[in-house]
Assembly symmetry: C2
Homo-oligomer: 338 residues x 2
């Protein structure tokens, strides 16, 4: 199998998500319209919260994957738009519940919904969006797509419960943490990509290739996010640096630093992550430890490996502008942190 591209000799000097955005722009306009209409309700609070979240500028990477992975097979129909909107609703519901669980104050640089409307409304509007997501999937009528997405839904929740256990536990291993991000991020990326060839009536190898692409991209995406939280600029992430640290979240950079650090370092991480609050000086100390033990650069290196796996998976898929755009998306994802 010829390798589509490698991340180290990517031809584009500054990799961009733009080719993907451009190639699915027609479908995304329909997705956005559907999202706004399905977030409607006579119960005023629902569209209010949904619109706040939906208009707050996420990249909508997941629904773009669904569209591109159907369009690349010349799919003619509307099912991919509806599935893409379902995927975004599932993601949005997860964000609403996550913020409640993590007690987050900010989401994408804006006040989190739970700070504006309360935890109660965030829980219930998340439930509503999930219900709407399933209704939309049923409208499409593909039991296979329903199976893939409902499976993802259960896995995401399972991963969140798992993370709850790991959240403040400095004994979390790299393997534990990878299980968490497979469930909380990679599973939905994988499902979003897989339902593309499913709705386009493709056979098992195509479905598997799209699923693998999504899964590996999801891992890469999450690890980049983890590294950015300690090193990117605030504007990149739409949130302040150190959010994970302040919330006591164990992410891969921290797992690596703890593994490699001294007993004194472990005591520091324990106090910061299992304790009741940290200072700005603690955050500075944390970043300096992450650098000392190459924890950030090794996290990025692992992200790069997953990114390469995603590119390899593209091999099996049909050549053309959609495949190229999906390859660019991988490079873009990694470039955010390089």
């Amino acid at each position: 199998m010829a390798v589509v591209a490698t991340l180290s000799d990517n031809p584009s000097p500054s990799p961009s998500i733009q080719p993907l955005v451009d190639i699915v722009s027609g479908g995304m306009a329909e997705v956005n319209e559907l999202i706004l209409s399905k977030a409607g309700s006579n119960v005023e609070l629902i569209p209010e919260i949904a619109k706040h979240l939906i208009s707050s500028g996420g990249k909508r990477l997941r629904p773009m994957l669904t569209l591109a992975c159907a369009d690349m097979f010349g799919y003619r129909g509307n099912g991919h738009v509806t599935l893409a909107a379902s995927v975004e609703f599932m993601h949005t519901a997860t964000l609403l519940h996550d913020d409640v669980v993590d007690e987050s104050d900010m989401r994408r640089g804006k006040l989190a919904a739970r700070k504006l409307w309360g935890n109660q409304a965030s829980v219930l509007v998340g439930d509503y969006l999930l219900g709407q997501a399933f209704k939309m999937m049923v409208d499409v009528g593909s039991l296979e797509a329903l199976r893939i997405l409902s499976e993802a839904s259960a896995i995401i929740a399972e991963g969140e419960v798992l993370q709850l256990g790991a959240a403040k536990n400095i004994n979390t291993s790299e393997a534990d943490y990878l299980r968490v991000i497979e469930a909380k991020t990679a599973a939905l990326f994988a499902a979003a990509a897989e339902v593309g060839p499913v709705i386009a009536g493709q056979d098992a190898p195509m479905k598997k290739a799209a699923r693998t692409y999504g899964m590996e991209l999801g891992y890469a995406f999450q690890l980049v996010d983890d590294a950015l939280d300690y090193g990117g600029s605030a504007s990149d992430l739409g949130k302040d640096i150190g959010d994970d640290f302040r919330e006591g979240k164990i992410t891969l950079p921290v797992v690596l630093a703890i593994q490699r650090g001294s007993d004194a370092d472990t005591a520091f991480w324990k106090r910061c992550l299992e304790g009741e609050g940290v200072s700005d000086a603690d955050l500075e100390e944390a970043i300096s430890l992450l650098k000392k033990y190459d924890a950030l650069s090794d996290t990025i290196e692992r992200a790069r490996t997953y990114g390469q796996n995603a590119l390899d998976a593209l091999d099996a898929l049909p050549s053309g502008p959609h495949k190229d755009a999906l390859a660019d998306a991988v490079a873009f994802c990694i470039s955010r942190v390089s």
Copy 2:
């Protein structure tokens, strides 16, 4: 159309749920087994919480409706068992999220899951059970049952958001409140009953009759619950009297008492329900106002009307022991409070 039975001249001296329990006992054994196996997870907290909730002695009325409404058509297969387990998971997920939203301390006479494991775990395990519910429905493979249950899921969440607005608002009208209970209780009863004839391959009139039976029974059930919260014995409900009152919940008895009361009464309800805590003396005063304005007896009267509507809906369904057991269930429901 001949009326099956009326509530006022019910032949049974003490109406019982037992005929329904007995007639679906084989199926319910399979439902319970399926529930326990599907509540399993490698993430320990999930089976722990799920088993706590599932073993805490709910009547499982909803899955029994699904089984009886399929069995009455001589359905041979296993789909009704899986759908019944899905319905119970949807209900259990709702209870977990409800307790978080209502800040409840008790559920069916036991500490609420959120008091034992925290709000975070309750939110996430609810999400997990909902994901499992959808996976099970997909296993059954009936898009029509999926449509009915996913619709119910969105409606339940919408109703909970609606109730959030009404919860501490003494201007809630009877019509507002009936919308809330249609969504939060009656919709799932209706869906649970309707999927019976759906899986049994019945035509529209049978599906409609089962749906109407479930819907009307759901209304009756909720209004009886509302009345019991101010008048039943604690052991009946598995929770203390006055829980709704202490949580500032507006229910039909309160709506009626406010409508009929003086300005001084309104000030009392406003202080108690919109304020920050009530005393035992407040609860006594509330019960005495409810009695003064016939608010409890009129709530029960309305429940009786819905119960009669449920019996009328049974007319269209095939005669036999299942229909008789479903009629007894209505009478039992009303008798809890008469």
